[in-house]
């Protein structure tokens, strides 16, 4: 049951609109209820071949030998694709916005870093024949010690998961193994708080579980182009990722998608398109690559696990005066999007509250598990869980009603947020008030009268003196660059004056050609390789 509370913030809206605000039927509803909405897999193409991949049975292993001799002779097999057949067999999704280093092959070459990592792709006349050929591929693994826990992965001597990041952490600002947030002096405030509460929170991975699994159909089109029907959630992301991996101009492809059987973040990674297109390129035939359900559940990327430590200082009157957070994103074996989630998570601290002293360290950590990716609430869901459980505990600690406790600490218009931007257009207080009303949860008058538009700003708008970790701050980025910029940098920067800690001895690089040209990170304004 949904009720529109038009009475609240009515003075900020023009409600006299003709189409906006109406519960108009969905444009796609007729298609949905008649089953005529067209998903990627509803495109039937003559002579379509089927692609399946051989997946690693080991979580971490060197590949001594990949023997496809018998599989090549298997009935119905049209083509076997190995890592060396992939034009640029190393990529990272966010290279499109120049964030991070290429760290993930389409098909593993020298090493596998998670159980289920694709090693060989087989294109055959039927799915059955592809499965039969898969059973005939022999892979000789030399198992390596694996690491599955984010904090274990950070310990000295931990197995190196991904040689691109030899410390098992993503590198931020070319210097740090985590993203920082510093606002005020959390340690000083904790020292004088009436109560200090430190807790550990853990969120396990989550599978997106869309009813339609990931997949794509690629087919040769006229004039040297390829048409690609895809379940992607991000069409140009996929187009440009495929153009990079397959080393062709992006207008080689005509991508068609648009109606997708659920995504929730699990269809951003461009997992099936590059190999489907490569299969079509190598065979000249339409090729379909669609995940089975077990494949989707086990090797489709999950929302990564997060471990979060929260240390809060609260006063007897219920004011939270300090919040210190250490969070670890379990990225799995490759970066995908977790690096970005960590920054988003840092920006989200300390939740929708005005807390004068906030300290955050957020890590993106590599482990030997299925690479994680975005999911509904990316970078925030687990942190909200931690913060809101913590808020409940703090309210309990000081003997306050949890609703009133939240209203007391809620951010209001004009307050300074920990990422140093003024809070505007806030409405947390009103949400708490209305939820209380709906749930018949009594709150006292002064809290019923509170407003997001009152009592903010002033002393709450001040950026407090903030100690930083480094004595010499690197200069501010010299220039903003647009996203999608893969040109060499036109600006150079001074290296940070404090040299970064020495890196461990270099690990063997993948044998695959590295094509990661020196690029400019538009996000962090630093050179990347």
């Amino acid at each position: 049951m949904l009720e529109l509370r038009k009475d609240i913030f009515a003075d900020e809206r023009d409600d006299n609109l003709k189409e906006i605000g109406k519960g108009t039927q969905r444009q796609d509803m007729l298609g949905h209820v008649t089953g005529t909405s067209s998903y990627f897999n509803d495109h039937q193409l003559q002579g379509m071949l089927h692609l399946k991949v051989v997946r690693s049975t080991e979580a971490h292993a060197r590949l001594r030998l990949i023997d496809t001799t018998e599989a090549e002779r298997s009935a119905g097999v049209r083509r076997i694709i190995r890592g060396s057949d992939v034009p640029r067999n190393l990529n990272t999704l966010l290279s499109l916005i120049n964030f991070g280093k290429d760290d993930e092959p389409s098909l593993a070459v020298d090493k596998v870093r998670y159980k289920g990592e694709p090693i060989v792709a087989i294109v055959a006349d039927s799915e059955r024949e592809a499965f039969e050929a898969i059973a005939k591929v022999k892979v000789d693994y030399e198992p390596l010690p694996a690491v599955f826990d984010v904090e274990d992965a950070l310990k000295p001597g931990a197995p190196v998961v991904n040689e691109t990041y030899p410390r098992n952490t993503f590198t931020y600002h070319e210097t740090y193994d985590h993203q920082k947030l510093r606002f005020g002096d959390a340690d000083a405030a904790l020292a004088t708080a009436d109560h200090v509460l430190e807790q550990r929170y853990q969120m396990s991975p989550i599978e997106h579980a869309p009813t339609e699994t990931n997949g794509a159909i690629a087919a040769p089109d006229t004039n040297g182009r390829y048409v690609v029907y895809t379940s992607t959630q991000a069409l140009f992301f996929s187009v440009d990722t495929c153009a990079k991996i397959l080393d062709v101009p992006s207008n080689t492809f005509h991508f068609i998608g648009g109606t997708v059987g659920g995504g929730f973040g699990g269809k951003v990674d461009t997992l099936t398109e590059p190999l489907a297109i490569l299969g079509a390129m190598l065979t000249g035939r339409p090729v379909r690559y669609v995940f089975g359900r077990e494949e989707e559940m086990q090797y489709g990327p999950p929302r990564g696990a997060e471990r979060i430590y929260v240390k809060d200082g609260v006063m007897r009157d219920g004011r939270v005066v300090a919040r210190k957070i250490r969070a670890y994103f379990d990225s799995g074996a490759y970066t995908r999007l977790s690096s970005y989630a960590a920054v988003k998570c840092a920006a989200h601290l300390p939740g929708p509250y005005t807390i004068p002293n906030v300290y955050g360290d957020v890590y993106c950590v590599f482990t030997n598990r299925t690479p994680a990716t975005a999911m509904r609430g990316f970078g925030v869901t687990a942190m909200d869980f931690a913060i809101e459980c913590q808020m409940d505990k703090l309210a309990n600690l000081v003997g306050m009603d949890p609703m009133e406790f939240r209203i007391l600490n809620a951010y209001r218009d004009g307050d300074m947020k920990a990422h140093r931007r003024e809070a505007k257009n806030t409405a947390l207080i009103e949400c708490v008030q209305v939820a209380a009303e709906k749930a018949k949860w009594p709150i006292r008058d002064e809290f019923r009268r509170a407003s997001s538009r009152k009592d903010g700003g002033g002393s709450r708008a001040v950026i407090p003196p903030t100690p930083t970790d480094s004595h010499a701050r690197p200069p501010a980025p010299a220039q903003q660059r647009t996203s999608y910029d893969r040109l060499p940098p036109t600006v150079t920067r001074e290296p940070p004056r404090d040299p970064p800690p020495p890196a461990p001895p270099p690990s063997p690089r993948p044998a695959a050609p590295s094509h990661g040209a020196t690029r400019f990170s538009s996000v962090f304004g630093t050179r990347r390789r």
Partner: protein, 272 residues
């Protein structure tokens, strides 16, 4: 190579084909074999079927009930004379799976599947099988213990004695998801009462061991006693004895051991 499908008019011919071909699997309702094919199980190269009407026979008129191996759960639910088996039949899958899945197939379904078999185990059913050299009857417990070696055998039917009263047979599947969820634990209890005392107590568990098992310690605690609070408590505390549950996606061994007695107690005392 496409899969070869062989359809036979008689169960014995099908059994012969099954026992002579290591790559052959018998197709009942399809919920196991078709899934294996869809998922790329290349060990299945031949699918054997039988159109023999004996396989879909139900004989529920007398005290001894016989169900052909090909009888679906939906058919059991449609049969008023099989009311005592309705709860276990209803606990299988959703409606489509109940329209397809069969009594015979359920005997081979690995954990977390195979709930109907738990009921059959508590009822001490007999499994009629046909191998390459003729047919024979096997007590269900023996059948389950040797199940992994039964690949080449065709199940023809199962039979069991009807419980004396509806009170005497109880069944509960503990699932996380409602109304259709995989089994955390499945419990079936057959407690015939004679002269106010339990005579011939049979308790069976699913998901408490690699296959469905009898809970003999709990049975002993019930045997010869009246079904009162004390007896039920004794049975509940003995429930975990002799079980060897495993961790799986639905629950851990620890959890199963912790709650098996709680659920047995609730089942025996008629609690929700």
């Amino acid at each position: 190579m496409a899969v070869i499908v062989k359809t036979f008019a008689s169960a014995s011919e099908a059994a012969g084909a099954l026992s002579s071909d290591r790559g052959a699997r018998y197709l009942g309702g399809g919920t196991l074999v078709m899934r294996a094919l869809n998922e790329g199980d290349v060990s299945v190269s031949t699918v054997v079927r039988a159109s023999d009407q004996a396989l879909t026979r139900i004989d529920a008129s007398g005290p001894r009930v016989l169900l052909g191996a090909g009888v679906t759960f939906a058919r059991i639910l449609a049969e008023r004379d099989l009311a005592f088996l309705h709860a276990p039949a209803r606990s299988i899958g959703g409606p489509a799976v109940r329209n397809m899945g069969t009594v015979g197939g359920n005997l081979f379904a690995p954990t977390p599947y195979g709930d109907f078999t738990v009921a059959l185990l508590a009822l001490e059913a007999t499994v009629a099988v046909q191998g390459g050299f003729g047919s024979r009857d096997i007590p269900i417990e023996e059948f389950l213990q040797a199940r992994d070696r039964q690949a080449g055998t065709l199940v023809l039917s199962v039979s069991c004695t009807r419980p004396a009263s509806s009170e005497a047979f109880r069944y509960r599947k503990i699932a996380r998801i409602k109304p259709k969820g995989g089994s955390v634990i499945t419990i079936a209890a057959h407690l015939p009462i004679s002269g106010g005392r339990i005579a011939g107590a049979r308790i069976a568990f699913g998901s408490m061991a690699p296959t469905q098992i009898r809970a003999r310690a709990a049975e002993r605690a019930l045997e010869g006693r009246s079904l009162d609070v004390g007896t039920i408590a004794a049975a509940a505390s003995a429930a975990g004895e002799g079980t060897s549950p495993a961790d799986n996606a639905l629950g851990s061994a620890w959890y199963r051991r912790e709650i098996v007695g709680v659920h047995l107690r609730r089942l025996l005392s008629g609690q929700e």
